[in-house]
């Protein structure tokens, strides 16, 4: 697999991690330098950072579902200052470019985050989380093209780094939201985030998750991710990071065929911290076996159906 150009970043291959599904700092403690020696991702996406520190949601935070899981983590993080002081030095030592994912509950908060991240040369790109179903504002902004557009318009001028908008799948027309992001100058969109979901405790019938509701991820949502990536690819020209339920190379291949230029592995990391390397190998052999049009360096292939009208009688 030749290198991949993503918004001007040269990446060794098209497989990155989904934000919040890999803590490279903790993994370094657990696995030692072997993590760096065979780092599975071509770029590392940080967990979502907020302006103020967050403890996250009370436990339980996890619920296993058929071919998936619900998380109600609640974006625990040290806050911007803590991230820059403690996490950034360690993340900058990773062998790949760093993408920092940020989220704010107001335009001013997001602006402050983007400016601070923009100032740090160790950070290669910024991902705006407007989609995390565990934080109200994230849902609201990301679900509505107008407010999403306004947010991007406000922060786009604040950074020259690639700006990726992470879309929420919990919306009626994700492509419309993607178009708003593109119109306001976003360099890329990433999708899908988790689907709003819930579980009740077996015994009590009370909500199981400390956060009440959470987000569904894993193979269960793969087909939804593919539909949303394809729908977005029909309507925008900017780069797309596709994710949702990838466990094997052919799932990554499908997202690339649907129009993504990068793919992100999320929940599958939990089953195997080095799964992304396997997925990348499987993808590579599929691509070698198949027509060049599946190579990620070709102009974006178009799935030959208009996803938005295919449904009509």
């Amino acid at each position: 697999m030749t290198t991949v150009d993503f918004c001007g970043l040269r990446l060794a291959h098209p497989v990155v991690n989904g934000s919040g599904t890999y803590d490279a700092i903790a993994a370094r403690r657990v696995f030692g330098d072997a993590l760096l020696a065979s780092f599975p991702f071509s770029a590392f996406v940080s967990k979502t950072i907020t302006l103020q520190p967050r403890a996250g949601n009370p436990p339980p935070r996890l619920w296993e579902t058929p071919a998936g899981m619900i998380n109600s983590i609640g974006l625990p993080n040290r806050g911007l200052a803590g991230y820059l002081e403690y996490d950034l030095p360690e993340l900058a030592a990773l062998p790949v470019p760093l993408i920092t994912n940020v989220m704010g509950s107001t335009e001013a908060e997001v602006a402050a985050l983007v400016e601070a991240v923009d100032a740090r040369p160790e950070i290669a790109a910024i991902e705006l989380n407007v989609s995390c179903p565990n934080v109200r504002t994230g849902l609201d902004i990301g679900a509505d093209p107008a407010s999403l557009g306004a947010l991007v318009r406000a922060v786009r001028p604040l950074t020259g780094k690639p700006l990726i908008v992470k879309l929420t799948p919990n919306t009626a027309d994700v492509a419309a939201v993607a178009q708003a992001a593109e119109a306001e100058g976003a360099d890329a969109v990433s999708l899908i985030n988790t689907l709003r979901a819930m579980a009740l405790a077996p015994g009590s019938g009370e909500p199981w998750l400390g956060g009440g509701t959470g987000g569904l991820s894993g193979p269960a949502i793969r087909a939804v991710a593919l539909a949303q990536v394809a729908a977005v690819a029909r309507r925008v020209r900017i780069a797309i990071v596709g994710m949702g339920g990838i466990t094997r190379g052919n799932h990554a291949r499908d997202l690339l065929l649907a129009g993504a230029s990068l793919v992100a592995v999320g929940t599958e990391n939990f089953r195997d911290p080095i799964a992304a390397s396997r997925i990348c190998c499987e993808l590579k052999s599929l691509q070698n076996a198949e027509t060049p049009s599946t190579s990620v360096n070709e102009p974006r292939p178009q799935v030959e159906v208009d996803v938005n009208s295919a449904d009509s009688p």
């Binding site: 403690r29 657990v30 696995f31 993590l35 996250g56 436990p59």
Partner: protein, 268 residues
């Protein structure tokens, strides 16, 4: 103490599987793995047909403390409480396991010439059994106080072989009729100069924690929480700590100094 894990899960062969009373003991060959430290754990999944059990689960791997680790052979002990342990319980010698670990931070030896009191029961046996062996190797005096529901479960006491064991059962069918905390209170009455190492069901663990706190006896608790990854990636396995906020049990635990928590979470 933490022994680092090889990067990536590995596929290992099940070399033995047997029942021990109400429990199942699984042995696996782990030639490439390091010698783990007592209190550490592994994430396990059957290599074949992990899933399609009750409610179309399991999907994620499951966390298990190791019972013993000898010459590249690991043993685990569990009770069938759901689709994961049900599937693992089906495995026979020759079947294969996905295994990641060792993970987490284990026990630390007692200081100030204290003796070790290993208190627990149920599926809390494994870390205590491994710790008993290590303490014996270090020549540190240790005694185990184990509580069980009934005789079938009390058979699990036989899996802790490297320290003298006192047993209590809820129904009095084996050993003393009562709770682990009764045994522990008595032992501390005899001689309070001890460090308590505890693992077991949340309610038992909380009782042990409270007892030790009341008597100012240092205690290390091997806690449990639902885990998706076991290596700090998902932030799912948290417990609230005194110093504020939450701590990930898989990387900062599962063994915690009892002084760090106000109470053992009912379920996690």
């Amino acid at each position: 103490m933490r022994v680092q894990a090889p990067f990536g899960r590995r596929r290992v062969a099940v070399t033995g599987a047997r029942d021990a009373g109400a429990y199942r003991v699984l042995e696996a060959a782990d030639p490439d793995g390091p010698q783990p430290w007592p209190g550490q754990f592994y994430m396990l999944a059957a290599a074949e047909r992990w899933g399609a059990g009750a409610d179309e689960r399991p999907y994620l791997p499951r966390a298990f403390s190791y019972l013993q680790a000898d010459a590249g052979t690991l043993s685990f002990m569990f009770e069938d409480v759901g689709p994961g342990t049900a599937r693992l319980g089906e495995l026979r010698a020759g079947d294969e396991l996905w295994l990641l670990g060792p993970l987490g931070i284990g026990f630390t030896a007692p200081d100030g010439g204290r003796r070790a009191l290993l208190a627990g029961g149920g599926i809390g046996i494994p870390p205590l059994s491994a710790w008993a062996r290590e303490l014996a190797a270090q020549g540190i005096a240790a005694e185990a106080l184990l509580g069980f529901r009934d005789a079938a479960h009390a058979a699990g006491a036989g899996l802790l072989t490297d320290a003298p064991v006192q047993v209590a059962t809820d129904d009095g069918s084996v050993g003393r009729h009562g709770l682990v905390t009764d045994l522990l209170a008595a032992a501390l009455d005899d001689d309070p100069l001890a460090t308590v190492y505890a693992c077991g069901p949340p309610r038992m663990l909380e009782a042990v924690r409270a007892l030790c706190a009341a008597r100012d006896v240092p205690a290390q608790l091997a806690l449990e929480a639902g885990m998706a990854c076991g290596f700090g990636a998902c932030y799912g396995c948290v417990v609230p700590v005194r110093e504020g906020g939450y701590l990930r049990l898989c990387v900062d635990g599962p063994v915690l100094d009892a002084a760090r928590i106000d109470a053992v979470p009912a379920h996690a």
